[in-house]
């Protein structure tokens, strides 16, 4: 075999291995974030990474998120290793892309369906997931204890409530019961896609425990089914829904999902 061919073949065979080892080596560069008391939260149903044009594009989701550069994100409809999303681990991909820590879980009794993820700039010191009572598609809600500073620890929850009416009440009851049981601090934030309008009994039930961070910021987003609820905070500094991803461009291609990211800046001082 001539030398040129030998080089071509060896390079072709060995380069994937070398690259995979390099990516392993550079995988865990931690991004240091200084402690603060005003924390930006975002909840975003990413619709399996598929935008309004039905194309899978996680970079577009990342860019949508980066508009507000949140500290803690609750993601719903996140897929891992499914043929339907080309085998991607979406939570892992986005966490690496955004330089954040993450926790992902899908229902324990069906590892094939979508799940939820929490991404955080601060260390996640404890994490767990709980299957919601479901008689249609399996659903999950996840819990992370996030240590912003030695004096500030936040219990962050992320969920995606089912579609069927009869499920929703049971799921909300289970959710609130579990939150009371597992919370480690008085500062709690519940993010997610509730598939419920804010005038429903189920949301009223949630409001017996939490405050809706949208409350002080007008009625323009009242139709939203994505919520950020919180308790134990000082003040809600801002609440908004990101509706325009690209300035001066009006195209369905700018939206990474069929939902919009909802943002709350909460002061925990």
């Amino acid at each position: 075999m001539n030398k040129r061919l030998k080089i071509v073949l060896i390079t072709m065979v060995v380069s994937p291995l070398i690259l995979s080892v390099i990516t392993f080596g550079i995988a865990e560069f931690p991004r240091e974030t200084s402690p603060k008391s005003e924390i930006t939260f975002m909840t975003y149903n990413i619709h399996f990474g598929q935008g309004m044009d039905d194309l899978l594009n996680l970079e577009r989701i990342a860019q949508n998120i980066l508009i507000d550069d949140p500290d803690i994100i609750g993601l719903q409809e996140v897929e891992v290793g499914r043929i339907t999303s080309q085998g991607i681990d979406m939570a892992f991909w986005l966490a690496k892309r955004l330089g954040m820590k993450y926790y992902y879980s899908n229902p324990m009794n069906n590892k094939h369906v979508m799940g939820n993820a929490i991404l955080s700039k601060y260390p996640i010191v404890l994490s767990n997931s709980y299957d919601l009572p479901s008689d249609l598609q399996e659903r999950v809600f996840i819990h992370c204890v996030i240590e912003v500073s030695p004096s500030l620890t936040i219990d962050a929850f992320c969920t995606h409530i089912g579609i069927r009416t009869e499920n929703k009440s049971a799921q909300i009851d289970f959710l609130l019961e579990k939150i009371t049981e597992v919370s480690t601090s008085s500062k709690q934030v519940l993010m997610g896609d509730f598939n419920l309008q804010n005038d429903t009994l189920e949301i009223a039930n949630v409001l017996t425990y939490f405050n809706d961070t949208a409350d002080e910021f007008g009625a323009s987003f009242q139709a939203s089914i994505d919520y950020i609820f919180a308790v134990g905070y000082q003040d809600v500094i801002d609440y908004h829904v990101i509706t325009d991803m690209l300035v001066n461009i009006d195209s369905p291609a700018e939206f990474g999902s069929d939902h919009l990211p909802v943002v709350s800046i909460i002061d925990f001082s």
Binding site: N2, V13, V80, I83, V113, L246, E254
Partner: protein, 425 residues
């Protein structure tokens, strides 16, 4: 290291016979077109899945039903022989290369889902035409004195190299297929960064067309069936062994090709699964190059390896979380066996004589393989993601995967038995 005498394939012999430029043209096209096929096969199912979703939820029904109609494309490879008779086998081969190269280029423009799915369907269908005409001409080419084992190993090596390139691309993109991981530019520029793959795709398509036009080997046409003894020809029913090809695609494209999935099932690191998967593929390539053909076709050895593969699959699917890295190692060993099965089936495809002409044999079997791949994928989706729609399917996901492993093993066993009987005769 790669001294020819150590290996069961002589690249020098192929290069000497074909001449340098045709050799590189042939090797490049075979690897790159197979890579495009792998990428298209991965993109196709998500496209159809999204369309199914829209149809179920009554959104843009006509447009999305049109996408579902692309399933008809899987019949197209079966028409290769008829088309060859009309316009000539060489013309079909060359045209199929151009169509695949251009379709893949168009896919890189991130067109709407309907076009992406149609283009990936076209690539899959036309690749069936390409591979059947190519194998026929390559195996039957009388203008050179390249040994049959060299020809078969060249095909096997190229196809496995395409999988390796696919791993390389996904490793760079942190496992997001097709698009590379774009640098973090501002939101205003993300829609430009998504076209980064075009920088690679344009020269790849250009080279495919250029090399095909100028240097692709000019095979000599040899008439097909009459040179063989009729008693050697296998009946149609044997073609069902190539359901195994479909099962190979099903196992790979549903689970084993994705280090993320292996990591998810076993609660381990993506990086470790990725490295071990790549090592498994490199080991397969080494075995294909190094081990003699007759040893690779040993029935007893194949039965032992396939039993190990099925047991490993069971451990992985039912006890993955408990076994963690042991399950990852077992599944990576299985990956070697599955790739070797693929090589055995493909080499059999090149050698065995059915009652049909060779082009028809390979193209029919390609169509059968892809159809069974789609069928099992649908069953798997219904028993996992969509188990809530038809509850009777719930929990059958792992059983379908194990069944696919068993069918693949049986296909390989029958294939080897046919081969052994042929050699004994």
């Amino acid at each position: 290291m790669l001294r020819d005498s150590k290996y069961d394939i002589s690249f020098s012999e192929i290069e000497k016979n074909l001449k340098s430029r045709p050799f590189y043209s042939l090797f490049f096209n075979l690897v790159i077109l197979s890579l495009f096929f792998i990428q298209a096969l991965r993109a196709y199912v998500p496209g159809v899945y999204v369309a199914m979703f829209h149809v179920v939820f009554a959104e843009n029904i006509i447009e999305n039903l049109f996408i579902l109609l692309t399933l008809i494309f899987f019949v197209v490879p079966a028409l290769t022989n008829t088309i060859c008779k009309k316009i000539g086998i060489k013309r079909v081969l060359i045209s199929s290369i151009y169509i695949i190269a251009v379709s893949r280029l168009l896919m890189a423009f991130h067109l709407p889902n309907i076009w992406q799915t149609i283009l990936s369907g076209i690539i899959i269908a036309v690749y069936g035409m390409f591979i059947s005409t190519f194998i026929t001409l390559w195996v039957k080419d009388g203008s050179t004195e390249i040994k049959m084992s060299n020809k078969v190993k060249m095909i096997g090596f190229s196809l496995l190299s395409a999988f390796l390139l696919d791993y390389l691309i996904r490793t760079i993109g942190f496992s997001q297929d097709i698009s590379l991981l774009p640098p973090g530019l501002s939101a205003q520029f993300w829609y430009i960064t998504q076209y980064l793959w075009l920088i690679i795709q344009i020269p790849l398509t250009g080279l495919c067309i250029y090399l095909t036009k100028l240097y692709f080997p000019r095979f000599t046409s040899v008439s097909d069936v009459e040179e063989y003894d009729k008693s050697d020809k296998k009946s149609t029913v044997y073609s069902l062994i190539f359901v195994g090809i479909g099962m190979f695609w099903f196992l790979l494209f549903n689970i084993l090709l994705y280090p993320n999935t292996i990591a998810h099932y076993t609660g381990t690191s993506y990086y470790v699964s990725n490295i071990l998967s790549i090592i498994a593929l490199i080991a397969t390539i080494w075995i294909v190059l190094r081990v003699k053909m007759q040893n690779l076709l040993n029935t007893k050895l194949s039965v032992i390896l396939n039993s190990l593969m099925i047991i490993s699959l069971c451990f992985f699917l039912f006890m993955g979380i408990a076994l963690t890295y042991i399950a990852v190692i077992l599944i990576c060993v299985s990956l070697i066996i599955i790739f070797l099965n693929f090589f055995v089936l493909f080499s059999h495809l090149a050698i065995v004589i059915f009652k049909w002409e060779k082009v028809k044999t390979i193209s029919n079997l390609f169509a059968i393989g892809t159809s069974f791949y789609i069928l099992f994928t649908v069953f798997h989706i219904l028993s996992t993601d969509w188990a809530y729609v038809i509850s009777a399917f719930k929990g059958f996901g792992p059983i379908i995967v194990v069944l696919a492993g068993v069918i693949l093993s049986v296909s390989v066993y029958i294939s080897l038995r046919i081969n052994q009987k042929g050699r004994e005769k």
